[in-house]
Symmetry: C2
């Protein structure tokens, strides 16, 4: 298959290299990724400055295209200009899990969502660790999963968000198909003073408040590989129906 | 009511001023907005650099807090540190419509979504024009709508995305509650050469391919004020059910 690789940790990130090494054994791989880290950019796109493309080599070997933009920019530019149609877009492997409402902030997930918006199947992969990360089991799993999912009789392009626990693979409990948690994060701002006595804030999050085991947050914590199919219709249909049926309509004499 | 105003066009934007002028007649208004334009930032948040807060005055009058961050950052920092709990968050008035899959890219909408994620009712307001924009009818409509929606017996916080046609109000056909269009945008990259002969790209979009009149895209084009309730569960439940029920499970001997 023809596979586009991207990420939000930047084109030199270890997680992308690991995916490249494993997936290129069986597939034709194209890399189009941000030139530097673009974490937590959400589904940002770059419309107020021009995008630049830099060809990256490793030794004499062409590695891919680095873009001065976001993960979503990379997918668009790859499909429309640099690579053309592909069979699959894979985004990752992200350092750090992407579960719960963090999906809204995630550059990794937004690249997969963007691919689906353009009509292509996509997978985002994240690993639940920040330090001393070993990406190879996650890359190996991704490779096996790709072979599996393309054999299923799915009718239309899919977009799947995969999270992998960072532990000895023998201890992983299995694979769980789960919904995204929408529970609140415990967030905080750390208020500090700079050397001139001026205030600045670091934004942080402690943990999810989720307790439902059928969510990505809890299943991952319990040691499962979590797989969540993603869509991009933000309509709240239940509230839409309520508002449509309200008898006391707002009347404005335009 | 205690209302937090924000936007993605920056704290000095005309659309925000118009909302302030109209809403402050009836409500207690707090402004926390990006120090400069942050369009198309999606639901980005700032985690890799500190956030700074600047108090903005207009003459001797305290106007609000400018933040070196995204619309979502502004909402979080306002609620957690600068303003505290509010009755409503209003984001806008954005210059340019926010309909269809542009909702995924919109900083204006993401501020309202963020408010809902934190448990607060919210409204994002955009006007379908880029040049010679008259914001006052849109601000007036927002004010009337706020009074209306809080009288309805809704059980939980709401998040509503409002788009207003830019035309003589007498020509507006009415209010339509509609879903978000998920149809593709016609997009393109304009490839140019700089003064050194190096390639750069401008990213652009022509139009939506939507035809369904019960969507925000078409209803707005037809001259209706569109109102779309927003949620932030990205789970594709139909595909989730299919994957859960697949008989040929992926078996890995972990």
């Amino acid at each position: 298959m023809k596979i586009l690789l991207t990420n939000d940790d930047g084109i030199y990130a270890e997680g992308l290299c690991a995916l490249y090494e494993i997936l290129s054994l069986d597939h034709e791989i194209y890399v189009v990724a941000p030139e530097s880290e673009r974490s937590a950019v959400g589904h940002a796109i770059t419309i107020n400055q021009p995008l630049r493309v830099t060809k990256i080599k490793r030794g004499n070997f062409f590695w891919g295209y680095a873009i001065n933009g976001t993960p979503a920019d990379c997918v668009k530019l790859a499909i429309y200009e640099l690579v053309g149609p592909v069979d699959l877009v894979v985004s990752g492997i992200n350092k750090g899990a992407n579960v719960g409402i963090n999906l809204l902030y995630s550059g990794t997930v937004s690249a997969a969502t963007e691919a689906k918006m353009l009509g292509y199947s996509s997978i985002s992969v994240s690993i639940d660790a920040y330090e001393n990360v070993d990406y190879y089991f996650a890359a190996y799993f991704t490779s096996i999963f790709i072979n599996y999912i393309f054999k299923l009789p799915l009718n239309s392009p899919f977009c799947l968000n995969i999270n992998i626990p960072h532990m000895n693979p023998h201890k992983i409990k299995g694979i769980k198909y789960v919904k995204q948690s929408t529970a609140k994060l415990k967030e905080f701002f750390d208020k500090r003073l700079d050397l001139h006595g001026k205030i600045y804030y670091w934004q942080g999050a402690k943990e999810h408040t989720e307790i439902d085991p059928e969510t990505d947050v809890i299943a991952l914590k319990e040691g499962y590989i979590t797989i969540t199919p993603i869509q991009f219709d933000l309509t709240n249909y239940s509230l839409l129906n309520i508002l449509k049926q309200v008898k006391d309509k707002l009347f404005i004499n335009f």
